[in-house]
């Protein structure tokens, strides 16, 4: 086996788990809530889940939001439960934040802000992808 074969092999073996891409703003549709439900279900069955926030999906992570003002049950508060479901890999697309003039001020901890290339690489490490 050549070294390049080994490289390919190790890349393949690293490819695992489920990636969930969030691409919608939080309050005008159910996509965000649905993605959250799927993430928590996989988490409770001890499946590896990573969350990706891209495009308008980054709005789901912004601090100081208040869904009660628009009469919506605040599912964003449940994001703080991720650590209890062993959901530790949470990635945000930096370019999406910049385009929207958003600071890296999130309502949960341990969020990783990645530049487009790294964001793509992180996504490609996963075997399955669901996009909401």
């Amino acid at each position: 086996m050549t070294s390049s074969d080994q490289q390919v092999d190790s890349n393949l073996s690293q490819e695992n788990g489920l990636a969930i891409i969030n691409s919608k703003a939080p309050f005008s549709s159910n996509y965000g809530k649905d993605a959250l439900d799927v993430a928590l279900i996989f988490g409770s069955f001890e499946q590896k889940v990573s969350l990706f926030f891209q495009g308008d999906g980054v709005y789901q992570l912004i601090a100081n939001q208040d869904a009660s003002l628009v009469s919506i049950k605040d599912y964003l508060k449940t994001f703080s439960a991720f650590e209890f479901y062993d959901i530790e890999d949470i990635y945000v697309c930096q370019q999406s934040l910049v385009n929207r003039q958003l600071d890296e001020a999130f309502h949960i901890n341990d969020v990783q802000v990645l530049a487009s290339v790294e964001f793509g690489k992180a996504l490609n490490r996963h075997q399955h992808v669901l996009r909401f």
Binding site: A25, P26, F27, S28, G55, D56, I62, Q65, S68, V70
Partner: protein, 98 residues
Amino acid sequence: MSTLHLVRKSAFTTNDFAQCLSVLDQQDSIVLMDDGCYNLKHPLMDSLIKRADSTITINVITNHAQARAIETLAEVKHIEMVDLVELTFTHKKVITWQ
């Protein structure tokens, strides 16, 4: 012949706001509501504000912006849903961009 434009979508994902701006007339008013509030931070907003020295008024539903933790601009008027109802009477037509 004024028109009230209700903008309900984020310009970062749809081009509804751009289309709205392309047909906007001097006496018209804009109301940013629901995900339309995100447009306050969109580059299109800057060009609109530069135009807004005319008679165009830009409004935003206070609750909708606040729920989304969006800082608003001095050039934008804060209104409630009851004021929106009032605006539908003071304008000849209403277009909803969604």
